[in-house]
């Protein structure tokens, strides 16, 4: 029998990016908040030591800061006709663990999805006719650009994002991204300094008539004090960013932007190494009473709360809903049910060029050190004559030259022995790459549910991921590969290679930790699990915050939009819900 604890105004599951933002905003509004976090407490001074964070084996290869599959794994398959098997090690994507979540070891690319993403169905139907989206489950997100823009602004100023505006209140600004939706003000800090590869990239694509701009970065170009009074330091371009925590207070994370303020509040409590097993509903299933969690000693507790905010990783949010029977499981046969629906990923391809007489110093890097062009992203270009929708950002980012995993050799080189060594020495400093981060659009057969066979350490079913790259996205990605090839030509490299995606998503090699959907937001309870405020249609005192709410995934990294949605949901709770608890949108 679980020990019953005193009731709180709000219970937050998970203290990563979204949990920290929700906790900060809800405690500011005077609520008494408890956050329950499965992983350990982590902080910069104690756990992200600058004297030994530069350890590729420990953090990037053995993945010390990531979620261990022994704690929670998932099963995967490409199609419904296959038997899903557990990912015994995470490979294709790497969920986070502990306080700060994946925000501890992200790269820091901080995008705003576009106005045409939030209203994607309306936009594409108007421009091309609805038939253009045949076979895709694209749908509007229920929130409009003008509603959500201030939340993007809040997240960027919380983080101190380094970038250059391209569209200030409708005015196109040279040097920024002309395809972004109108922003109310510029980024809080100027762009990072550029190393050789992105500088060359920007020059070469500008000569071809494209519009490169500095990738908006949560690795800060300069010292910054955020609106909460928390101070951050200038990035040193150390090249140990993604998969690592920043020891220099230069990468925005819950630790470097919120926790120094949040943790001191008397109306906030954090419980670490406590895993929420489920959300407990009232007998009619319409109200969340409490959450049950288990601590590190194996003791179970029941924590009642008036509001439950699920702020785990996107995939875990969906699993928590399914384990707690919040909403109805999506069924790919009938199309009924909403939880698990519209699961999307990312569709990537890349180019690498080997030069003679150039020296790139690839180890001088940062998670977001680079340049992007969005000329082929989203609907920035005319899809009229094309057989797909969607696109991708083309990014030249120098994140690292860490040699266990990043030592490119020219195609055809041996993988070991003397010939390998020679090719490695030649390729290491004289090659550069750029890549297309393609969109991922929902189809009926890509979805999430609970696995019928495999269970976690507490005996609960694992999440099952059924996913393959949809035909639309393969066509889109091949178009992107064609563009990469064309763009690379004028660089004059000795050898250029371009990758092309194929059917059969492989869970082993790393691709992207941009898993989205499964508990999507929208204006129709038949096709979305949460309303435009990220409030469950079925259990109105439950909010589900994260990339789980994305109705599709764009050709951009998700965290900027995740942060904006967190501020947006928090505002709905503090300004609307607590005044009048109940459904904020009539079902």
């Amino acid at each position: 029998m679980a020990k019953l604890l005193p009731k709180r105004d709000a219970v937050i599951i998970g203290l990563g990016w979204t949990g920290s933002i929700l906790a900060q905003q809800l405690t500011d509004a005077g609520l008494n908040v408890v956050a329950i976090e499965r992983g350990p407490w982590r902080d910069t001074a104690t756990d992200f030591n600058i004297a030994y964070m530069q350890d590729e084996l420990r953090y990037a290869i053995r993945k010390e800061l990531f979620l261990k599959p022994s704690v929670e794994a998932m099963t995967m398959r490409n199609t419904r006709s296959q038997t899903a098997m557990p990912m015994r090690d995470y490979g294709s994507f790497l969920p986070g663990d502990g306080v700060g979540g994946a925000g501890v070891h992200w790269n820091g690319h901080t995008w705003r999805f576009w106005s045409s993403d939030f209203s994607i169905h309306s936009h594409l139907a108007q421009r091309y006719g609805a038939a253009k989206m045949k076979g895709l489950m694209l749908q509007d997100w229920g929130v409009t650009w003008n509603e959500i823009e201030p939340s993007f602004d809040k997240f960027e100023y919380l983080c101190g994002i380094s970038g250059k505006a391209g569209n200030l209140k409708g005015q196109i600004v040279p040097g920024g991204n002309p395809f972004e939706s109108a922003r109310s003000r510029d980024y809080p800090t100027p762009p990072m300094k550029m190393s050789y590869a992105p500088t060359l990239f920007a020059q070469k694509v500008r000569e071809q008539g494209f519009h490169p701009f500095p990738t908006p970065s949560a690795n800060l170009s300069t010292a910054y004090v955020n609106p909460l009074g928390v101070r951050m330091g200038q990035c040193t371009y150390c090249g140990f960013c993604e998969r690592f925590a920043c020891g220099n207070y230069s990468k925005a994370s819950a630790q470097t932007t919120i926790l120094p303020v949040l943790m001191k509040k008397p109306n906030f409590e954090l419980r670490t190494e406590c895993e929420v097993l489920k959300v407990n509903l009232s007998p009619d299933g319409r109200h969340a009473k409490s959450v049950t969690y288990i601590d590190a000693k194996g003791v179970e507790y029941e924590q009642p709360g008036d509001i439950v905010v699920i702020c785990a990783y996107a995939l875990m949010n969906v699993r928590m809903m399914l384990l707690s029977k919040i909403g109805t499981q999506y069924d790919p046969v009938t199309g009924q049910g909403t939880v698990g629906r519209n699961y999307c990923y990312q569709t990537g391809s890349g180019a690498r060029m080997f030069f003679e007489g150039k020296h790139f110093n690839p180890f001088i890097g940062a998670g977001t050190l680079g340049q992007t062009m969005d000329d082929f992203n989203g609907d920035a270009f005319d899809h009229g004559p094309l057989d797909f929708v969607g696109g991708g950002g083309i990014n030249c980012i120098v994140t690292n030259g860490r040699p266990i995993s990043n030592r490119p050799t020219a195609p055809g080189s041996p993988r070991w022995g003397q010939g390998w060594k020679k090719a490695t020495v030649e390729g290491y400093n004289s090659s550069m790459g750029f890549s297309a981060q393609g969109s991922s659009y929902p189809v009926r057969e890509n979805y999430l549910d609970l696995d019928p066979t495999y269970t976690d350490r507490h005996g609960r079913p694992l999440l099952r991921v059924t996913f393959d790259f949809p035909d639309n996205d393969i066509r889109m990605s091949h178009f992107m590969s064609d563009q990469l090839e064309k763009i690379a030509k004028p660089f004059g490299a000795k050898i250029t290679t371009v990758s092309r995606i194929k059917k059969g998503w492989d869970a082993v090699p790393y691709q992207s930790t941009h898993n989205t959907g499964g508990a999507v937001m929208g204006s129709d309870p038949r096709t979305s699990a949460v309303n435009k405020y990220l409030q469950s249609w079925d259990v109105p005192n439950v909010f589900v915050v994260g990339a789980s709410a994305f109705a599709h995934n764009a050709g951009m990294n998700p965290t900027g939009t995740v942060g904006a949605l967190a501020f947006w949901a928090a505002e709905a709770i503090t300004t609307k819900y607590i005044k009048s608890p109940g459904a904020l949108v009539p079902a």
Partner: protein
Amino acid sequence: MSEQRALSRRRLLASVAALPILAATADGRSISGHLPWSPFAGEPPKPVSPLGWYFFTPGEIAAVEAIVNRLIPADSLSPGGKDCGCAVYIDRQLAGDFGQAQRLYNKGPFMPGLATQGYQGDLTPAGRYRLGLRALNDYTMATYKRGFAQLAPAQQDAVLAGMDGGKIALKLKPGFSTKEFFEMMLQNTMEGFFADPLYGGNRNMASWKMIGFPGARYDYRDHIDKHNVPYPRPPVSIYSAEG
């Protein structure tokens, strides 16, 4: 490391107990009203001892040293895999958490999977090496009447190429192919060659000097603007400028 962690937790608990906590809480890991901090909470890495062997048997040592020397042969660019400590590195990894698959999902049922689903066998990495090296020895004894270490370098290369290219099938077990065994050895050898020297390989930072990687440095602000100019400083490792 775990001892140090436990110690820091006790210190943390003591510091929590000394501060006012708003509500009665159920468990000792509750944090409220302050930013927790305790001295010595970090976990610096522990350099491995270069002496002795923790996992491999004498026969396995000879084979693994020979293998890492063919994967990374000595030449004018660097010493060979053995002299760089790659065999010692793999030994220490297999004796530790990695070898025991500590962080992986190890629950059954174990069933054959698709290539896109990754390794589905029930053997830990340590178990895979033990089985794989025994099967490799059986193969070279049957084919050449010698252990792998006693073969001529050209014969060793031929065996490794056969494993890499799918032309040699060692007697392993379902769910663990010869190609997988080869890939695992290649990956671990490269880890040993390129990781920080504290893990037993990359002696004298030989691989970092070879490719021009400056190692555990963390501030390149003085060079970010110097385009197409080689970085002038030598590598440093976590514990030493000399590696």
